[in-house]
Amino acid sequence: MTDRIEQRINSLNKRLNSEKRFRIYCIGAMSFALAWVLILFLNIFSSGYSAFYRTVIQVDVPFLNLIEDTTQFSEMSSEDINNLSMYSFSKKAIYGLFPDIEEKKDKKMLIRLFSIEFEQEIREFLKSNKSNINETETIYLTASDDVDQVNKGNYPRDLDEDKRRIKDIQLLFFDELVDRGLVSYEFNLPFLMRGDSREPELAGVGGSIVGSLFTILVVLILSFPIGIFAAIYLEEFAPKNRVTDFIEININNLAAVPSIVFGLLGLGIILNTFGLPRSTPLVGGIVLSLMTLPTIIIATRASLRAVPPSIREGALAVGATKMQAVMHHVVPVAMPGALTGTIIGLAQALGETAPLLLIGMVAFVVDVPQTPLDASASLPVQVYLWSESAERGYVEKTSATIMMLLGFLILMNLAAVLIRRKFETKW
């Protein structure tokens, strides 16, 4: 008798131990996955956050050298200001930082501390403040990428000069400017507003954000109604026969097709046959819609199927037509699930790169697109483009773009969760 009890206790202990081990495995697996996510985020964040700041250098610009009376600016139109020849004037303003420099080579080095668009920046300042320009104005000019990186500590100063992009004399100038308190940091608003550029300090994600938003908008407009209607038809109205089975299998297969194949389709049919404009969010959206449709259809069908059949019967039994039963009772209950599926599909589309490469959205686009018919880049393609560039400035910008992309994805997934929570039918 006692033997039996002992045996039972042993066996129970064994089972409890194996349960403990099982829990440890599970927690281990979860921690491992979580650790990688954390490493990813830390890595991207640590190399990307600095892109949201930029280095500017104060320069005193003596506008009196350009014109005899600065009040005359207020009478000039933007056109007139654009026509003013300001290049050598702007250069002289910068030379004013170090009036002692004589040699042409050193002057050139000084100019190179600034971004290539210094003249344009002074012109823009003039345009937006033309009514009250003083004789001398202090303007914050964008520093060149090299200076920016040195200032952020991303650039090694202790390399030999011939291995460095920034020369000794430039470092000398820079340190002097820092000592004089003329170098400062500010929030990098242009990064969020501008399009791409060959100069890292001037390149921005604005163009690709707008491009991505246009693309997603096209995807939403196309794939949401088509996906929902297709799912409702297949789930509620289609007869169950071989044809619908075949369609169902193909939709499921479509969801697994590599995205680059959709890009080839877009290139072959949408661009070459239909002749829609290359590199545009419209075409990108059409291609990504093809990719998103199966996701939306599958998610919507699943949530339609989850609606208890008794609801349909209840509606039919009071004399509703099939369509009324579906549209009044089944679809509203299934809608949160369908919306969640749609948002997940959109999030997928937002992060998709490969098909966009094939339809030309990989183009170098300086202007922020105004309509879905303008050539544009998108966030993931921007990541791809910048990750290939050699300049230091693009490294942090690549990470910063990934941060923006992840931010949008997190927001969309959050929206999916919130919609589900808020509108889910409670039985």
Binding site: P239, K240, P308, S310, I311, R312, E313, G314, A315, L316, A317, V318, G319, A320, T321, K322, Q324, H328, H329, V333, T425, K426, W427
Partner: protein
């Protein structure tokens, strides 16, 4: 002799290859409760679902034979099934209120059929239907609450109110009390007694006591065949078929 409301003639029903009903012929009297009893899978639910053509939604279901309501063949090609279901309401085994407000649950039928012209008419229909279903007093202060927030018995009465909101002649009840506790069951049975003054009621039930309490005629189904149909007292006191005898005495079922 009461007038005959529904008449089924040699009804055969198939689910694909499988035959579920064999040559069922019976009639049901107007403004009476007719009970259908029998063991699980005997075809009584299949039969009742033929009366408002609910079986139409099942693709593989095929119906042969004839069912007449007031002398009209409901399987005739020109019969509109929506119109039929307006006249033949149904209450299901599991309470299935729509996940909408109590008011909307009852107002839905009149609204889709265009019965109420004004909002006040609709409100009146809702109130009358809820009163007839003996639910109004319990929910009058919370008509905008969700129908699914009610208790099981209340939900089932809400479904009855929904069924009578379109003013049918006939109410089909497919085991309406099987998911309810005895007190809720008693209320529904009491309600059926009131409703039969206005409506013809067909009830499928597993409980023989229930059939005995509420119905005037009872049909006994077994393995897809209608074994026997007669006055309820006759079925329970003096069945003519041995199988009926065995079933009501609890030998099988």
């Amino acid at each position: 002799m009461k007038s005959i409301k529904i008449k089924a003639d040699n009804l055969n029903v198939y689910y694909g290859e499988k035959q579920a009903l064999f040559d069922v012929s019976m009639y049901m009297e107007e403004k009476q409760v007719t009970a259908l009893i029998g063991p699980s899978g005997c075809g009584k639910s299949t039969f009742i679902r033929c009366l408002n053509r609910m079986n139409d939604v099942i693709d593989i279901c095929k119906v042969q034979g004839k069912i007449e309501i007031d002398g009209n063949d409901i399987y005739a090609p020109d019969m509109q099934v929506e119109q039929l279901r307006e006249r033949v309401g149904m209450v299901f085994q599991k309470p299935n209120p729509f996940p909408k407000s109590i008011f909307e649950n009852v107002a839905y039928g009149p609204r889709i059929h265009g019965i109420a012209e004004h909002k006040s008419d609709l409100e009146e229909i809702v109130v009358t239907s809820l009163k007839k279903a003996a639910l109004f007093d319990e929910v009058k202060d919370r008509l905008s609450d969700s129908g699914t927030s009610l208790s099981g018995g209340q939900q089932q009465r809400l479904c009855i109110a929904r069924a009578i909101s379109v003013n049918p002649d006939i109410i089909l009840m497919d085991e309406p009390c099987s998911a309810l506790d005895p007190i809720a069951t008693a209320r529904i049975e009491e309600l059926m007694g009131d409703l039969k003054t206005e409506y013809t009621i067909i009830i499928v039930t597993h409980s023989m006591q229930q059939a005995a309490r509420v119905s005037s005629r009872t049909g006994f189904f077994h393995l897809g065949k209608l074994v026997e149909v007669d006055k309820t007292e006759a079925i329970f006191s003096n069945p003519s078929d041995q199988r009926t005898q065995d079933y009501i005495t609890g030998r099988f079922g």
